[in-house]
Subunit: 252 residues, 4 copies
């Protein structure tokens, strides 16, 4: 049985890169994403070629019991989940209130908030029993303040952040390290930023932002590993990450 790093939302951006990075630290990377079997297999293959251990699962987080059953399976067949990287996104672009359907508002909450609650509920008590564990939650600018066109996304991410605070209040003293990591800017990733903007706009953006002007997943992964390795006498609950050339959310 290997110590497991479970990644929820293991696309070709932060999720997959962080999973691969933890595999290098000796964790069995269990990579879950909603779709793209080929992309998932490639990621697993790349990790194995580096001598790491990895397993990939297609998982629809909004489906009832999908997370709970997967956690059960991993804990029984692969190993104890020592690290969770919760990386599900819920960004769907900008829409007016009238354009934001009830269905989309609920979906945003199911992805950004409810899935984290279900993941934490399935894993944190196990971590508490084992006396330790780490939950690294990827978050976004929207978690800090609402803005126009983000009626679904911003509330869902703000709820994610405050849920991390309530999880920390219950579990930190039991050795479970919860960290809310605010990714305050666009990530240099075809699976997320690329898809939202479309290839052409994405390339134009990369040019306009200049060198190191978009957040590099490999750089993000270093910080995730460092936070996971912090000594429990000096844990970080929240930190922000942005490109040096970008304005922080409070100045933007």
């Amino acid at each position: 049985m290997d110590p497991v790093c479970l990644v929820m939302g293991a696309g070709a951006g932060i999720g997959g890169t962080v999973g691969r990075r933890f595999a290098r630290e000796g964790y069995h990377a269990v990579l879950c994403r909603r779709a793209n079997r080929t992309g998932l297999d490639t990621l697993v293959e790349n990790i194995r070629q580096e001598g790491g251990r990895a397993t990939g699962f297609i998982l629809n987080a909004v489906e009832a019991n999908s997370i709970e059953e997967r956690v059960e399976y991993v804990e029984n067949r692969i190993g104890p989940i020592e690290i969770v990287v919760f990386n599900l996104g819920a960004q769907t672009g900008y829409h007016t209130l009238a354009q934001t359907t009830l269905k989309n508002f609920e979906l945003g909450w199911r992805l950004a908030t409810f899935s984290l609650f279900r993941t934490a509920r399935a894993i944190c008590p196990r971590m508490q029993q084992r006396g330790g564990g780490t939950v690294l939650v990827t978050s976004a600018t929207a978690a800090m303040r609402g803005n126009a066109g983000q009626h679904a996304h911003a509330p869902a991410m703000a709820a994610r952040r405050v849920l991390c605070q309530s999880l920390n209040a219950e579990f930190a003293a039991h050795g479970v390290h919860i960290a809310h990591i605010l990714v305050d800017g666009l990530v240099d990733a075809p699976d997320t930023t690329g898809k939202i903007l479309g290839e052409q706009k994405y390339e134009a953006l990369r040019q306009s932002k200049g060198q190191d002007g978009l957040i590099k997943p490999s750089a993000v992964a270093e910080t995730y590993v460092q936070v996971a390795q912090q000594h429990r006498s000096a844990w970080t609950f929240e930190l922000d990450l942005r490109a040096h050339s970008d304005k922080p959310w409070w100045n933007d």
Copy 2:
């Protein structure tokens, strides 16, 4: 047709008291609450005895279309909704993560967040068309930070707050005043604090808090009216309310 003040969550605490106060300002108070027909009728009767206009409806906010149909009805039969007092609570006491069921987590969100989204979606575009309106949202300490035992409540209230910010970003410039009112303490109200604590603990609390140590709904109502009457060149989006003898959330 009278100008309407619609109150969602019109119990014998802040909701009913604020509705009654707006009735004194000449608004037709449309009072909605989930249960207690008798309490609702009494409230309506009291307002009428003061010479005010009021109508009461039993409304289950989590039921599909319940809010949308009521708004439609009120706008067609009673008058244009010029003021909304969104006062639905979602506090269910303190529970560990294991004690917090998926059902309760979702219910908290449906009451605290989704119902506000549905209410705003049904009314804000109408207000924009009419060139004005006011949405006063009652909020709680939990909206500002998560804490132990509040896994369901805190994220739902934080989402409520940030939704108010995104509504403000879209509608303020069109003359719709959104205000997020942070009630940072226990309210002197049998319907809310009383029910959560039980009668005996409630009385003990009132004694221990001393004179004016619990937030008086009548005092809250004055501030709600004043915010609704602010000139559009100097609108308040957010303010806090607490008893002089209580510690604010950031010192508690």
Copy 3:
């Protein structure tokens, strides 16, 4: 002896207008400003013509003992200071770090922070002894976050805000109401915005902002009076004020 409303920073914008408004409530308005004797006399005259009581003093807040001696004088000769409106500004425009001299950095702190500390130290204990009082502190966007060119102003205003919080923590339970009022936008006032921008730019700004697009001092004054009149069971510590058509600081 009349109940006194002491205004520190009584220019032709918020300070003077709020002082005049409190005079209508029956307070003796004691108006202090650094310069412009003529403007001060006009303000006093206008209040008297309305049947109010007012006295004006030229006061240099950064001078040692200036505030302390004035408070002493007012308490002994005019009446007990029941309300303080602390309205000293410290905005000097945008400067790079290199352009920001040590002298200017210190001056910003003396005006924005140290003067409030000295004012509170001279008055709050008296209010506590009398069992009540109100301190209304005008603040600015800069108090919430630093930005480029505001190396002197932002830290000084942030310190002002947090000083209000520490004053509230000591004095609220003793009946002294401290309120931090965030004026989040440009004020329609020749003495402040007008002077910073210059007459031509100021007029252009007024045009571009459109009707009610700049914060009106008279509208601000209404809110100051309402906060001062709140019942102690539901006091506001912090609220923001901005024009309906302006973006709040967290979206700007």
Copy 4:
């Protein structure tokens, strides 16, 4: 000429430990503290015995030109300051408003805020010219909210935090990494916590807090180094550090 890590406030707690840690990374540790020549010499000696380079200076930060001249000297005689660890404390215990003298209020500001401004003003433009540098600022809970007895300390630390934000707004895009590190709890350090509490209370505290219940300077130092080594496409501006068993400031 060696790349320099300049530590302002190099006592036997965070400052000295971080300086020693950066010496292991190959920086010449320039350690400045107000007093205790012996402690300073011991620290320098310990670093040299590990094969590192270090120089110690007794420096009174509140003295005019003390910082500016020291920076000039270091840049000319030792090497370019690539990293600044600004670690001056300003905590003097709890005092009522009446107990807080004008002298102490000003001293708190000179130590916590003005010294950082002077340090940044002397170094940041040099870093900008060289195309890079890192300024790591140690901060405290008080920077986030005022509380009773902290009339001098809280405003000064809040100003420090917001000054970091305005420095970041001007210099980050030029390659200067500013980080505000919130040490949210008591540090296991005889020079700070020990001195504030006194030896006996300090020992009692260590017992009561249990294992890893006080923040270890060595653990803090790891995070400082990691932040300094972040890739510029994913810089952290702010992070918090606390013992796993401590409550964060927003729950305390």
